[in-house]
Amino acid sequence: MKRLETALRAVFGDDIKPDGHREPVTFTVPVAMFAEAARTLKESYAFLCAEWTTDDTNSGRGYGIYACFRHSSEYLIVKSELSADSPEFPSLVKHFVPAYRFERQVRSLMGVTPVGHPDDRPWIKFEDWPQDAWPLRKSFDASTRMARHDGEYAWLRAGGEGVYEIPVGPVHAGIIEPGHFRFQAVGETIVNLEERLGYVHKGIEKRFEAMAWETAVRLAGRVSGDTTVAHSLAYCMALESMTHCHVPERAQWLRALFLERERIANHLGDIGAICNDAAFAFMLYQCSRLKEAMLATNHRLFGHRFMMDKVTPGGVTVDIDLTAKIEILSELDFLDRDFHRLVRIYEESSSLEDRVRGTGILTSELARELCTVGVVARASGLNVDCRVHNPFPPYDSIGVDSPVLVAGDVHARVWVRVVEIRASMSIMRSILAKIPVGPIAVECGGVSPDTTGFAAVEGWRGEIIYWLQAGQRGQINRCMVRDPSSVNWLALEQAIKGNIVPDFPICNKSFNQSYSGHDL
């Protein structure tokens, strides 16, 4: 059932052609029809996952603009080729809201113009950068030291009697990543929130292009340190799709085990932190105790608390033996018992309920329009989970209980996490019971020139997408990283409207998006 592909073919007929045998299917359309193709896909209920550009000038072409769409389990990429002299394309903002940030980023970092985009302010690129600094272009030397220029960011303004502004960040009060939030408020009520991100832009996508395929997995594992397993896994799967590498089954099961351990640990941390923002510190300490137990076990069994660099192209680097299995099982019993008690306390605390229910509501309608993913989407009625729709072994045989709630408030986002922790525990038990024997890694093989790879993995925040492109010498020509935060940050701006300023921390924590994964 290829709904999107059928829709596109029905409208465009022979004007479009699928590109080789690439997975997912990639259609090249004339640039004038780029937005029209998006509109057709929107009519077929597609989500926009990502939009990005490539610089193919070294291969004698111009630039490439790509947009990736999803409907249920089907992914589809639409591509247009742009001329090297005046690279521009019709903006998708009118059809897909998340294109708003993607295209600002495309213009800022690649110097490719989205025609018809309503906002020409740069994104990630700060106002003190030179105007013509486009780091993702091949002509830009990665080691350039940019001189600072004067410039001002044109913030959105709200006026009228009693309206005031609160600037927050980039250095926040807590131990969190840097970003700037600007609130316009009347009394305690937030009229508007404008996010400004990009403070932790480390040039990751550019850095990938200077690395070898095998070593770049270390960088993928550090795109967002809290999601190291899922990011390195997505990178590896994209690379393996290019080299047609068949990962041994045991390695795939171990990858799933690591992924679920990462999910539980982070969800535990989040539940504790959300409750702490409602002054329920008891929960923070209890949850961080459980999280610490898991991390300590990771350290003992796998040699790293976050399991960094344990997933590599072709497999994994660490195996489990019988003692490890027993240790994980007994830890699961302990977690299960204590977590159950904590959830009961959460449920029965009326003062907590008062803060989390009805706060920071993201309606299903908005969640859909904004193409949100992961926990945030599932708390607002969207049934999206790569483990369900695009399962890799063992998820295809184990089955995943992925919760969907409709309230869209802080409580719903907590509750999705609660259900997911329980589901992950049962997945881990199934993995340990049925894990096949065999090798844990194979040689990944070389990358052919001019190929592309793609993978989507459900990290604990949501769907992570990697798209890799090999150059003419078989080197990394482009590595596109789409962390769930790249789309979900927009949803926070919408969910916070009409809430009171003191509820911002609890709302923000319930989203808990990555700054590093977004800024790259």
Binding site: M146, V171, Y199, V200, H201, K202, G203, E292, F306
Partner: protein, 168 residues
């Protein structure tokens, strides 16, 4: 309420022993973190954490030194929301081009005498992100650093041990 009390009693004290350091310098000088903090800082060593461009891995471990198992507050180390109250700046990440000014301002806002601790490989030398248009490299490229704690990320025990080095 009764469930909360019962859970607290059931949990008991989970805090582990103060981490023991292997550094021979610290051993011969017989430094004890708790006593030194008590003596030199009146039992209150106040820390402001600054993420200058990290991947969030180091932040998770800095969070962890606050958890009940490591519980840095028992040693008199606690975190503050403002650099104005801080004795120590705990800085992570390579310094990103976009965070350079904010880091300098935070440093300037911290009253002297001040101690800067660079946490993690990236903070020590730029790590995997190196020195590029977007990353200036280690923290000492921008502000003076007193103590380096390497690791990717350093474990909570490593970070606590790093505090000993202030007193060397």
């Amino acid at each position: 309420m009764i469930r909360i009390l019962r859970q607290i009693l059931r949990t008991g004290i989970v805090t582990g022993k103060t981490p023991q350091v292997d550094d021979p310098n610290i051993k011969t000088k017989g430094i004890n973190l708790e006593d030194t903090v008590k003596k030199c800082f009146r039992r209150s060593l106040t820390v402001r954490e600054v993420d200058a461009g990290s991947c969030n891995g180091c932040e998770l471990e800095i969070h962890a030194i606050n958890n009940p198992v490591y519980d840095c507050e028992r040693l008199g180390i606690h975190f503050t929301a403002s650099p104005r109250f801080a004795d120590v700046l705990l800085v992570t990440g390579p310094v990103s081009t976009n965070m350079e000014i904010a880091l300098r301002r935070t440093y300037d806002a911290t009253p002297a005498p001040k101690i800067v601790i660079a946490v993690g490989d990236c903070a020590c030398n730029g790590g995997i992100f190196g020195e590029t248009y977007a990353s200036l490299g280690g923290i000492d490229k921008v502000i003076p650093v007193n103590v380096y704690i390497p690791g990717c990320p350093p474990t909570p025990a490593d970070i606590l041990n790093g505090f000993y080095k202030i007193f060397l």
